[in-house]
Assembly symmetry: C2
Homo-oligomer: 156 residues x 2
């Protein structure tokens, strides 16, 4: 069909970059929808899952490793804490940080979170081979490189 290379020659608002952004939004939306069943949003679910894998962490580390700002991480932790899913406890080694740790109620949510993630991912990869996914991952990393270069040399 005509669609594909047309897609690449198309005007700015309909090109690969836009498609990529639209896809990202759609994927995010799909995750948000599904996690809504657990009364969680994507950021909250990711944080719970990450805490489960990594053990207690300071907020700054969580922020860095989940790719969000420190302020956002603080909001997410506060929301989870209010529901008793995590707790903030003092760090014996450093008085200005407090370690965020899973509480039992939060740990109980990890399994359904991982299940939802697994199901959605399997739906997403319908008709896409493992090799293709690997190529996609590699390409995205390449894009990432280019982009960080681009962002670096803005002297502005």
């Amino acid at each position: 069909m005509a669609g594909l290379e047309h897609e690449l020659d198309a005007p700015p608002w309909k090109r690969v970059e836009s498609t990529l952004m639209a896809m990202a939004r759609a994927i995010r939306q799909a995750y948000e929808d599904r996690f809504a069943r657990l009364d969680l949003n994507l950021a909250q679910a990711s944080m719970l899952a990450f805490l489960f894998e990594s053990g207690p962490r300071s907020q700054s580390r969580l922020a860095a490793q989940l790719g969000m700002g420190r302020a956002s991480a603080g909001l997410v932790v506060s929301a989870l804490e209010k529901r008793g899913l995590v707790e903030r406890r003092p760090d014996p080694a450093d008085g200005r940080t407090r370690l965020v740790a899973l509480r039992p109620a939060g740990e109980a949510l990890v399994r359904p979170i991982l299940e939802i993630d697994e199901i959605l991912r399997s739906e997403l990869r319908t008709g896409i081979s493992r090799a293709e996914r690997q190529r996609l991952a590699a390409l995205l990393l390449r894009l990432q490189d280019n982009l960080s270069g681009v962002l670096a040399d803005r002297p502005d």
Copy 2:
């Protein structure tokens, strides 16, 4: 063999989907940064460029074709209108819609917008062949299909 499928087998917050979302955010940010020189954001620049290509359009059509909600499109148009870049004029054929049309000041911005876009895109495609980009586009479309299927059968 460590690198690639590791990326695919990695935990949720570090997998392809996440990378894709992060990339999309980064690309968006890069566009926002560059268009800031013209005192435009990405949505505004896209709308100007699109109006240039397509001629006057109703807001609903603009919204649909730029992939945003009607309300958002209205805000973008209002912002552009306030600066005299576009105008809303009555549609002779339909009393409830008003056609959004470029004004000279807006038309003058189209060239720099397209230039900025062209430059950023060329920086992004460093080290990525045309064939790879085509594959990427095809893959994204496939993902899009899977996702719309997924969203469709939520009877919830």
